[in-house]
Amino acid sequence: MLTLLKFEARPEPSRVAGWISPLLAAGATLIVGFVLFTAMGKNPWVAFHAFFVKPVATLYGVGELLLKATPLMLIAVGLAAGYRANVWNIGAEGQLTMGAIFGGGVALALQESTSPLLLPLMLVMGVAGGVLWAAIPAFLRTRFNANEILTSLMLVYVATLTLSLLVHGAWRDPEGFNFPQSKMFGDAAMIPILLPETRLNLALPLALAVVALGWLFMRKSLWGFRMRVAGLAPAAANYAGISAKRTVWTGLLIGGACAGLAGVTEVAGPLGQLLPSVSPGYGFAAIIVAFVGRLHPVGIVFASLLMSLLYLGGESAQINLALPSAVTGLFQGTLLFFLLAADVFINYRLRVKRPRAGGIPA
């Protein structure tokens, strides 16, 4: 008997499916990893151990996990505010870089300073850098109707080249043997360590506070409510007098502020100086974190831990198994694909359709 599987629209989106789908996606990604490792001639169990267990088997490893999760959750929670309002900022990597330039610039200008105010000033300047960089696509979108996806992405290249210009030129350490890098920041410009014997610093509680603020903003404030309406029903939002321009500005600037903060916490934390590249693609990985975390602050925290583990796993697999660390990018993309595929169950359900009985005589 012929049976057909068909998607049928649900009367209402399923909340359960919304939270199960990231788990399904993570599971499916693991299966792909299993197949991939086997295909590369590695024992998949050994590879899994090296990828997912070994990096976090020590206290130092746990510190690294949280350290790398910090910028990811920061950026993702900022992006989520925009994505909920259909404002597609994909240039967080550039806003992060600008935050690093602005914050790092302060640290370099006040190299000798031991003032306790230096670090707060750097953080503020980092946020300002990210905001400024995100304001460009916001202005171009609201004033000239230019697509923010393309402009924010183009600005990533401009920001990266600006950083390269600085560390190759004006900000290069004169005693750095001609390497393209700045001087090391002074002690007062470094974020204090949170957990001794690790590199985990106070940026983590700061990020968690921002995530909590993000939750308050989206869930409890009128402004956040307006943004969600603008995303879910643009026509209704327009009718209710919610300014589309304000939505674009808010969405982009929040994203820029968070990414800028993440940039300065990277240079004032694990890096301690400006380098030609200040991020292993956190700004892009955070897009995946935002989606896997369901654009929800709590989900984003968990998703950032998962993504951080993928980064660590890639490094560990490179050292322990001689596997290329590019595997990380592959896993990140695969995870997002499976998530998007599993999301079909939020709005649709599978129905088995049988041909009507008694239609055709045997």
């Binding site: 000239f144 230019a146 592959l330 896993f331 998007l340």
Partner: protein, 306 residues
């Protein structure tokens, strides 16, 4: 004079990857689907072509492999957005991120490998003619292929019944479905055509233009191609013009260095991106033109049962 001809040849060469990628995306978007994964498809096309060219010794087989790889990657996007009704923006971003990761992974062992590249045409007797020889006969064979592709797409979209159907599907999938056209199948084909073109664009970079493999070697050309389709208000000949304009802009970098202008190279490298932002803003300012010319259903999911 000869330098002018040389500049013309170089501009066309620099614009050609954009021509391939943007024309493919144009067809995809004409069917109502916005695929933001062009950068990823170009990169995977580039690495697939390079690996094939290195393995077989034939850069032309490499181009075919790039085409196939681009189409295969776009198929993932098609399944997600057309069969599983996923958000097109998110899926396209996913495709780009995935393509960057996949190409870096596949290309690891090929970073300093040397291949035989596709060489510029050398028609005996003609290519050596002064001025005109270079202007007409001195290009890379793939440049001519891209021009043929342009002509074919122009003809297909505006002079054939099938092209009319593709455009109808992009304007109103509901109506096209009601008349009995297989909207989803047509969109699958349009997406895969776009993927194949992006793959060839990447292949051109890897086996003809550069020719080598470097991680992330497309350097944002996939995104510029997406912007080009908007600049061109979805018209093929304007895509062509825009692609060469941007080809010219990317050249400024090498030209200035050649002329001994003392500007840090980073400023010149920024030019294509800044130019994209400026032109995009100028063209988009006229919101009505964009709205009139963009396929009406662009980016919206379609489910046959409503």
């Amino acid at each position: 004079m000869d330098q002018l001809a040389q500049l013309f040849v170089l501009t066309l060469a620099a614009g050609t990857p954009l021509v391939f990628a943007a024309l493919g995306e144009l067809v995809t978007e004409k069917s109502g689907v916005l695929n933001l994964g062009v950068e990823g498809m170009m990169l995977v096309g580039a690495v697939a072509s390079f690996i094939t060219a290195a393995g077989t010794g034939s850069p032309w087989l490499g181009v075919l492999a790039g085409m196939g790889a681009g189409a295969a990657l776009s198929l993932i996007f098609a399944v997600l957005t057309l069969s599983l009704m996923a958000n097109q923006v998110a899926s396209g971003l996913a495709l780009s991120l995935f393509g960057v990761g996949l190409s870096a992974f596949l290309g690891l062992d090929y970073v300093s490998v040397v291949i035989t590249a596709i060489q510029p045409l050398a028609v005996p007797g003609l290519s050596t003619l002064p001025f005109a020889g270079k202007l007409v006969f001195g290009h890379n064979p793939l440049v001519y292929v891209s021009l043929l592709l342009f002509a074919a797409i122009q003809w297909f979209l505006y002079r054939t019944r099938a092209g009319l159907i593709v455009r109808a599907v992009g304007e109103s999938p509901q109506s096209a479905h009601a008349i009995g056209y297989p909207v989803v199948r047509i969109r699958y084909l349009a997406v895969m055509f776009g993927g194949a073109c992006a793959g060839v664009g990447g292949a051109y970079l890897a086996v003809a233009y550069t020719p080598l493999w470097v991680e992330g070697m497309t350097a944002g050309r996939g995104w510029i191609a997406l912007a080009l389709v908007v600049f061109a208000t979805w018209r093929p000949w304007r895509v062509l013009a825009g692609a060469y304009l941007f080809g010219g802009v990317t050249l400024a970098q090498f030209q200035a260095q050649g002329l001994g202008v003392d500007i840090p190279s980073q400023y010149l490298s920024m030019l294509p991106y800044v130019a994209t932002i400026l032109v995009l803003s100028m063209i988009s300012r006229d919101a009505a033109t964009i709205r009139l010319n963009a396929p009406a259903s662009l980016g919206k999911p379609f489910h046959p049962d409503g």
